[in-house]
C-alpha cells in the first residue's frame, strides 16, 4: 500500500500568527533583570541634581561651598562650570525655517525657565551623600513673571518666557489643502456651508509615567565612554551626544539594557545624560544618576497640552464640506528632541477617515515656563483623533443625526482604498464598516441603547451613554523622504543583520530597541518562518550600539513595520547567499533549487537536499565553496518604507454617569482594530490593552496641573493618577485583518492604536449620557467634580481645584525663601 503524503499536513507550522509566549519573560518574572540602576562599577560615583524651585527667574548667585565640604561629596558643578562644554539639548525637528529655538542648556547658567530645571549637580561617593548635599547648595533667584497660560502667552503684551525672543511663539506651522493641491479652498467652503459647528477643546498635559525611573551610568575608558541608559533610543542618543558634547561618535557606546517602559517618554536626549557624560569625562570615574519619581514627574518631558479650535462645515444632510483646525501647542520652556514636531505630525490626521473636500491646519508652538512637552504614546495623533471624533459628535447633535450614521456617511468606503486624503496621505487598506459592525456586536449595542432609553425615561440618577471613535493613525514611522520634506533631522529606515552560526543557531541583530514590546519573541517568529529554523534557535540582539551598530530605535508603532521588515529582508539575502553555496555543494543549477522549510532541494531529484544550518557550517569550515564569493551567508538589510501604514478601528464605550455625584464608570468597552497581519496575537492584544488604559486614563484620570507660580502640583503618584487595576474595566477586543501593502509582513503597527482611539470614545460616551441635561462638553479628565459641575452648574466643568491657584504652602527650604511672583495668589514674600 502506498502512503500518499498530504502536503497540507506535513508542512511545518507557520510561526507568524501563533500566540507564542514571550522569550523575554523568563528573566523578568524571576528578577534576573539588568535595569540601568542595577549597574554597579568599581569606583562608581553618584550624581544628584539641584533643581530650581522657581518657574522663571535669573540666577543671581550660587554658593556651593557647604555642599563641597559635605561628607562624601567629590565635586559640585554648576551650569556656569560646564557652560562651555554642555552645548544645547538638540531639537531634531525644526518644523518651519523661521522656528525660534531659544537653546536648552542641560544645566541652567543664567536663567531658569521651569520648576525642576537643573542648576547644579553633586557628585558623591553614595546615592545618599549626593542627595543629602542638595540642601546645602544656596541659590539666589531673582524672580521673573512665569508664563503659564497659552492663550495669555500669545497676546501682544504678554510677559516673555525667554527675554531674548520677540514673543512666546516658537513657530507658526500651516498646512492648507487648497494650497497643497490636495483639497479645495477652505475659507470658501466655510462661506458656502449650510451648517458650521465650532468648538474649543482642551487636550490636557499628560505625563508618560513609565514605571522604571530614568537612570544613566557612564563609564570612561581612556577617551572612550560607555553609557548605559534607560532609553528607547540608544542609537539616536549616541549621535546626539556626539554632536552636543563633541565626544566623537566612534568613542561613544550606548547601551539600553532592560528598559522599563517608555511610551515616548524615553525618546529623548536628557539633560542628565549629557551631564553624566561630561562629569565622567572630567573626573575619569564612572558616574550614575537615577531619578526619583518626583524628579521624573517634574522634569522628564510631558505630552499633549494643546488648545484646539475646531470648525467643521457640512450640508444639512450631513455631508462634510470642510475642516479648519487652529492649535495652540504648549512647547514648555524649551524645545527638546521632537517637541515642535509632535503637533505638526498630528496635522495630517485631523481629517481622519472622513472625505473632507477642504482642510486647513494652523498651529502655534508656544513657550511657557513648564517642563518641555515631547512624544507621548501617539504623539500628535491622539490629539488629532480626539478633536475630530469629538467634533463629529457635536456636528451629529447639531444635525439631529445618529453619530454613527454621520460617520458612516462620510468615511472612506472599503472599495476606495488606496485613498488619498485631503491632507495628502495615501491610506493603504481597510474596511471601516466591517470593523464597526463587529464592534457593535461585541459590545451588545442594541441592548445598551435600550437600557439608555429606559434610564432616561425613568429619570434614573445613573444615566447611560454610548460613545464612538472610528479612528485611523499613521504608523510605521517613517518614509525617510517624507520626513525630509517635513524638515525632520533624520530618516525613518531601520536596519537588521542575521548571523548564521556554525552550530546552526541564528543571531538576529535589530536596530529597533525594545522596552517591553516583545521584539525578541516576534522577531524570532519572523526569522523562524523566513529561514525555516526552530523558534528556539533564534536569538535577538539589540540595544547596544556596539552590537546593533545601526538603528533608529523604537517609537511611532514602527518596530515591526519597519524593523521587522528589515529582518525579513536580511533573511531573504541570507537565503540568496546560501543558494549559491547550496547549488555548488549539491552540484545543481541555482535555478533548479527550491527553498522550503529551511532546506534547499533539487527539483526533480528526490533526496538531494541541504538544510540552511548545514550550509552555515559549510561556509564556516570554508573548505568547499564556490569561486568568486565570500565564505559567509550572513547578511544585513536596511529598509526604508515608501509610505506610512494606516491601522484603523472602531472603539465603543458605554459609560454610566451618576448625575448626583458626578462619578463616571465605564460599563463596557469594546474595540475592533485592524493592524494588518498579526504576527503574535498575544502581543497584539497586550499592546491594545495597554494603549486603552493610557487613552482612558487621559479621559478620566490624568492631568499634569500647575499652580499660579508654575509649580507642578501633580508631582507624585498620589496626585498624578496613573490608574490601578480597580480603576479600569474589562476590555472586549477584536480584529479585522487587511494587510498593509507597504511591507512584506503586511503589518500596520499596534503600539499606539488603543491610546489614540480610546480617549474620544470615553468622553463621547459620558456626554451622550448627560447631553439631554444640557451638557455639551466636559474637560478632561472627567473627574467627579468636573462632571458634577457641568451637570449642575453648566459649562465644561472648569479647571482642577489646584490649577492656577497657589498650591505651594510656603517657603520650605532656604533657597525658596523670598520667592514670589506677581501671579502668586498669596502675593509678596512667603
Amino acid at each position: 500500500m502506498t502512503l500518499t503524503e498530504d502536503p497540507a499536513t506535513t508542512a511545518v507550522e507557520k510561526e507568524v500568527g501563533k500566540a507564542r509566549r514571550r522569550k523575554e519573560d523568563a528573566r523578568l518574572i524571576t528578577g534576573r533583570t539588568t535595569w540601568t540602576d542595577n549597574m554597579v562599577l568599581p569606583g562608581m560615583l553618584h550624581m544628584s541634581v539641584v533643581r530650581s524651585p522657581v518657574a522663571h527667574g535669573k540666577i543671581s548667585s550660587i554658593d556651593v561651598s557647604a555642599a563641597k565640604a559635605a561628607p562624601g561629596v567629590v565635586a559640585v558643578f554648576t551650569g556656569r562650570d560646564i557652560a562651555d562644554e554642555q552645548g544645547s539639548i538638540p531639537c531634531a525637528w525644526p518644523v518651519t525655517p523661521d522656528m525660534v529655538n531659544p537653546g536648552h542648556p542641560s544645566l541652567a547658567v543664567d536663567e531658569v525657565n521651569h520648576v525642576g530645571e537643573g542648576v547644579a549637580v553633586i557628585i558623591a561617593r553614595s546615592r545618599a551623600a549626593a542627595a543629602d548635599a542638595i540642601e546645602l547648595v544656596d541659590v539666589d533667584y531673582e524672580p521673573l513673571p512665569p508664563v503659564l497660560d497659552m492663550e495669555e502667552a500669545v497676546k501682544a503684551d504678554a510677559d516673555l518666557c525667554h527675554d531674548h525672543t520677540q514673543s512666546n511663539t516658537s513657530y507658526h506651522f500651516v498646512f492648507d489643502a487648497g494650497e497643497a493641491g490636495t483639497g479645495t479652498d477652505t475659507e470658501q467652503a466655510f462661506a458656502d456651508a449650510e451648517v458650521v459647528v465650532s468648538r474649543r477643546f482642551v487636550n490636557q498635559r499628560l505625563i508618560p509615567a513609565f514605571m522604571e525611573p530614568r537612570s544613566v551610568v557612564v563609564q570612561p575608558q581612556g577617551d572612550n565612554y560607555t553609557m548605559w541608559s534607560a532609553t528607547q533610543v540608544p542609537h539616536i542618543l549616541r549621535v546626539m551626544l556626539a554632536s552636543v558634547t563633541g565626544v566623537p561618535e566612534h568613542k561613544l557606546r550606548v547601551i539600553a539594557p532592560d528598559v522599563g517602559g517608555g511610551f515616548g517618554g524615553k525618546l529623548q536626549v536628557n539633560p542628565e545624560e549629557v551631564i553624566a557624560l561630561l562629569v565622567a569625562r572630567r573626573l575619569g570615574k564612572p558616574v550614575k544618576w537615577t531619578e526619583t519619581r518626583s524628579e521624573s514627574l517634574m522634569t522628564a518631558h510631558h505630552g499633549r497640552d494643546q488648545i484646539q479650535y475646531v470648525d467643521i462645515a457640512s450640508d444639512r444632510e450631513g455631508n462634510v464640506k470642510a475642516l479648519r483646525v487652529r492649535l495652540l501647542a504648549d512647547m514648555g520652556a524649551y524645545l527638546r528632541l521632537i517637541t515642535p514636531g509632535v503637533p505638526a505630525l498630528g496635522a495630517f490626521m485631523f481629517p481622519a477617515i472622513y472625505k473632507f473636500p477642504a482642510y486647513r491646519f494652523e498651529c502655534d508652538g508656544v513657550f511657557t515656563n513648564k517642563v518641555p512637552t515631547d512624544a507621548y504614546r501617539g504623539a500628535g495623533r491622539p490629539e488629532a483623533t480626539f478633536a475630530i471624533e469629538r467634533i463629529m459628535d457635536e456636528l451629529a447633535v447639531e444635525l439631529g443625526m445618529d453619530p454613527l450614521e454621520l460617520r458612516r456617511k462620510n468615511w472612506i468606503q472599503a472599495q476606495e482604498f488606496p485613498f488619498t486624503t485631503v491632507a495628502g496621505l495615501e491610506y493603504d487598506s481597510g474596511d471601516y464598516e466591517t470593523a464597526t459592525q463587529q464592534a457593535l456586536e461585541l459590545i451588545g449595542y442594541d441592548e445598551l441603547r435600550e437600557e439608555q432609553r429606559r434610564r432616561r425615561e425613568s429619570n434614573d440618577p445613573v444615566q447611560l451613554g454610548i460613545g464612538f471613535s472610528t479612528f485611523t493613525e499613521m504608523c510605521g514611522l517613517a518614509p525617510s523622504r517624507v520626513l525630509g520634506s517635513l524638515s525632520f533631522g533624520a530618516g525613518g529606515w531601520e536596519h537588521a543583520a542575521i548571523r548564521m552560526l556554525p552550530t546552526g543557531k541564528v543571531e538576529v541583530v535589530t536596530g529597533s530597541t525594545p522596552h517591553g514590546q516583545g521584539h525578541e519573541t516576534a522577531w524570532s517568529q519572523l526569522v523562524a518562518d523566513a529561514l525555516g529554523v526552530p523558534f528556539e534557535d533564534v536569538e535577538v540582539l539589540h540595544g547596544d550600539t556596539a552590537i546593533a551598530t545601526k538603528g533608529l530605535d523604537t517609537y511611532g508603532s514602527r518596530s515591526l513595520v519597519v524593523g521587522g521588515t528589515a529582518v525579513v529582508k536580511a533573511a531573504e539575502k541570507v537565503i540568496a547567499k546560501a543558494r549559491k553555496v547550496a547549488a555548488h555543494l549539491l552540484e545543481a543549477n541555482e535555478d533548479d533549487l527550491e527553498f522550503a522549510d529551511g532546506r534547499f532541494s533539487v527539483r526533480g531529484t528526490p533526496g538531494a537536499s541541504l538544510a540552511i544550518q548545514e550550509i552555515a557550517l559549510a561556509v564556516f569550515a570554508a573548505h568547499d565553496y564556490p569561486e568568486g564569493i565570500e565564505p559567509s551567508i550572513d547578511a544585513d538589510a536596511t529598509f526604508d518604507p515608501v509610505n506610512f501604514s494606516f491601522p484603523h478601528g472602531t472603539h465603543i464605550c458605554a459609560m454610566e454617569v451618576d448625575t448626583d455625584t458626578g462619578f463616571v464608570k465605564i460599563r463596557k468597552y469594546a474595540c475592533v482594530d485592524d493592524v494588518g497581519t498579526i504576527v503574535n496575537p498575544l502581543i497584539v492584544e497586550g499592546q491594545v490593552h495597554g494603549g486603552l488604559a493610557q487613552g482612558i486614563a487621559q479621559a478620566l484620570y490624568e492631568e499634569a496641573v500647575y499652580d499660579a507660580d508654575g509649580n507642578l502640583t501633580t508631582g507624585t503618584f498620589v496626585d498624578y493618577l496613573v490608574p490601578s487595576a480597580a480603576d479600569l474595566p474589562h476590555f472586549d477586543t477584536g480584529n479585522t485583518v487587511h494587510e498593509a501593502p507597504g511591507n512584506p509582513i503586511g503589518a500596520k503597527g499596534v503600539g499606539e492604536a488603543g491610546c489614540i482611539a480610546s480617549t474620544p470614545a470615553v468622553v463621547n460616551a459620558a456626554l451622550d449620557a448627560v447631553r439631554h441635561l444640557g451638557v455639551s462638553d466636559i474637560r478632561m479628565p472627567l473627574t467627579p467634580e468636573r462632571v458634577w459641575r457641568a451637570i449642575h452648574q453648566g459649562g465644561d466643568g472648569g479647571d482642577r481645584a489646584a490649577a492656577g491657584t497657589n498650591a505651594y504652602g510656603g517657603a520650605s527650604t532656604e533657597s525658596t525663601t523670598g520667592v514670589s511672583t506677581p501671579a502668586s495668589s498669596l502675593g509678596g514674600d512667603r
Binding site: K18, A19, R20, R21, R22, E24, D25, A26, R27, L28, I29, T30, G31, R32, T33, W35, D37, N38, R127, A128, A209, F210, M211, E212, P213, D258, V259, G260, G261, F263, T292, R293, S294, H515, G516, Q517, G518, L682, I683, E685, G686, H689, G690, G691, L692, A693, Q694, T716, F717, V718, V722, S724, A725, A726, D727, L728, H730, F731, G754
Partner: protein, 171 residues
Amino acid sequence: MTRVSMRVDGVTYTDEVEPRTLLVHHLREALGKVGTVVGCDTSNCGACTVHLDGQAVKSCTVLAVQADGAEVTTIEGIAEPGGALHPVQKAFHEMHGLQCGYCTPGMIMASIDLLKENPDPSDAEVREGIEGNLCRCTGYQNIVRAVQQAAGEMKSSSAGTAAPETTGAQA
C-alpha cells in the same frame, strides 16, 4: 550605624546600616537583590513589594532596621530551588501578564499574598487586591487573568490532584 540581621531568600545576612536606610535600598545596594526595584517615592506603585515574615509589604515603607530578625522573600526567592517557577510566575508568563516587566516583581509578590488571603478571587476581587500596584503597560486585564489562572492551579495542586499541565507546551 545599626547592626541588622535578616534572612533573605533563604540566606542570612548581617550588616551595619544607617538607621534611615529603607529596606528596599538595603536589599538592592547592600545585598545585591536587584530583582526588587523602586518605582516611586510615595508607596503608590508597589514595584518594591516583598514578603516580610510572609506578609506582602512595600519595601520602600519599611526601614531596614525594622526587618531585623525577619524573614524576607523577594521575587528572586519564590521559585523552587531546582528552578521550577512559582505558579504565579508561570501564570504571568502564560497569560502575557507583563510587558516591560518593571512592575512584575512587585505585582507577583502582591498576587501571591492576595491568593493566600483569597484562594479563588473574582475579577473584581483581583482588581481590588492588586490596586496598590501600578502597571503602565498591560492595562491589567492579562494580570487579572494570570492571577486567576494561578489560583486555579494552586487550588488543584493543594487539593492533592495532579496539576494540569498548562498550555505552555506550544510555547
